[in-house]
Symmetry: C2
């Protein structure tokens, strides 16, 4: 191995050093028959029957290593999940790096191994990549940007246009684990029993859809958590979303950290949870299907879509006493900054 | 308009400020029926007949504005070109931003308009995007990462596996204009008659392929210029590439700048040129087809693929006196750092 301990500017210049980085580090892990590195495109044999779905996401999380994952693992999970909640089966991913000069090669290796592990778990392939290096002080160790291509099978149509008043909202598991873990890592609060929920959700969502429940729409509550997701669904549907405080699944350690930092669990990002809008009468069998999958063991109903009311906030929390507390869309400065 | 003059961290947090940035700046320019912003994936109606091609590229060029283009225009051209040289017709792009806190909103707007202009010129659509904001000092104004999906029409097969000894190598225009322009901008040498060649090449390549010439392989000589491209083709084919110094198209102002900075024009990146490997007897009609297109007016032959020779460098320059000078693959530190 001729790779130094730290990444050099020359590793991004396109010459021999770039080739060494690709051949000694990236290719041995990523290798598959379609992989295109350097300048070209990957060409796959055929696109399956169905509609193509395309998504992109940038990952700039600090710290890049955290309990339960790393930036590479997260980057693949995030993209797989964006496709999955759109009803698509993820197929092929691209993985693009912006490295800061001086980055520890070992950190890059860990994130690469994380990405490969997530791709294997999700059954997708990373077919194209790119590596750029920026001068020290012009980046933040490593940024990863992914894109994902998937296929929506014929006859499947999920989305907010299908959400109806009366739909039940399910969560596939406890909310805010990822956000709380990152915040704790950043504040040096190690030792807490916090662990990111980050995971690829395509298998869980396939199990849900196979149950035959009439699912209308799915979302992954990442930036801004369930709070921002519900506001987005309100904006697209014109309905209101009412969450049930007594039902909201939040781990004790996440609730405690939120209390300490003055943050709301409902605004904390998840990276391995989905929110599901579906026909009320199908909720029991959907929950049963979710709970039969390792990533959905704690699936439960958390609220309901309701007809809009001029005198009420579009997103609200119903307290155990039956009162409603508005959940406003925050400006952003008061949302937990995870990325 | 409520957008401030400079980008705030809150613009990346996923809350109200993020929505303002998207709704007031990004959506009005990018708007099309498939566009997916925030968390979801874009779903398109169908994938055309042919093989899917996928590529990704990160754009970290300093400075982000330069004569002949901007980082946004460049980002779309680069991705369109990566698909085009793989024989694919570009269809849909993703466009992902990593913004540094404090970035001038006007610069973002200029780059956005550049991306939209390039997409219009190339006839592609930007269907998915993402925006992250990193703290001041953790980025470099703006980084753009794109991915592109295209289709290789049935029956088309281009690539280095088809390159044969005796193939002529064409360049679609003068080499190194982009690299020289960036280097001059960075060194404050304004006033020079330098202008980036950056342009979407799908139309030019379609004209070439329509000529019926037996084209074997195409590449866009970006990082490391024709030098690195030729080395990559050598590595994949086992052949050697011999360029003809007397034929190499280099503008006088590019040659002068290279002389001044001690750089070789053949190692200078292009962002709107292709190198073409094709059957020797078809070169005249290929050149004619290229020259009939505005982006190929100065197309010409620049060299030839030859059988390997143990006693010679894999890439060489043949001088007007018939001698050969080896063109070694540089480590990277001595390549012009454009990105």
């Amino acid at each position: 191995m001729t790779l130094p301990d730290r990444i050099l500017l020359a590793h991004g210049a396109g010459g021999r050093k770039t080739r060494e980085l690709i051949e000694e580090l990236l290719l041995p892990s990523l290798s598959n028959e379609f992989l295109a590195t350097l300048s070209d495109a990957a060409v796959m044999p055929r696109f399956p029957e169905g509609r193509p779905a395309l998504t992109t996401d940038g990952f700039v999380v600090d710290p890049p290593l955290f309990p339960g994952g790393d930036l590479g693992y997260l980057s693949v999970c995030g993209t797989v999940n964006d496709l999955s909640v759109a009803g698509a089966e993820p197929l092929w991913l691209t993985w693009s790096l912006i490295l800061e000069e001086g980055l520890e090669t070992s950190l890059l290796r860990t994130c690469l191994e994380g990405a490969v592990r997530a791709a294997r778990e999700a059954g997708v392939r990373i077919v194209a990549g790119d590596t750029k290096v920026v001068p020290k002080g012009k980046g933040d160790r490593l940024f990863i940007t992914t894109a994902g291509l998937g296929v929506v099978p014929p006859g499947r149509d999920l989305g907010d246009h299908r959400v109806l008043p009366g739909d039940v909202i399910l969560a596939t598991g406890p909310l805010g684990d990822h956000g709380a873990t990152i915040m704790a890592s950043r504040h040096g609060m190690s030792g807490a029993a916090l662990r990111s929920d980050c995971a690829p959700l395509n298998g869980l969502i396939a199990a849900l859809l196979a149950s035959g429940a009439e699912v209308h729409s799915l979302h992954d509550p990442t930036r801004g958590g369930a709070l921002v997701t519900c506001h987005e669904v309100c904006a697209r549907t014109g309905l209101r979303m009412v969450l049930d405080e007594a039902q909201l699944p939040v781990r004790a350690e996440v609730a405690a950290l939120c209390e300490l930092l003055g943050l709301a669990p409902v605004a904390m990002p998840c990276e391995g949870r989905a929110l599901i809008w579906l026909k009320e009468s199908d909720a029991p069998r959907a929950i049963e299907a979710l709970r039969s999958h390792p990533l959905g063991r704690w699936a439960c109903a958390i609220g309901r879509a309701e007809a809009p009311r001029k005198d009420r906030s579009p997103v609200a929390m119903r307290t155990p006493t039956g009162e409603e507390r508005p959940l406003d869309l925050r400006a952003g400065a008061d949302l937990p900054r995870i990325c």
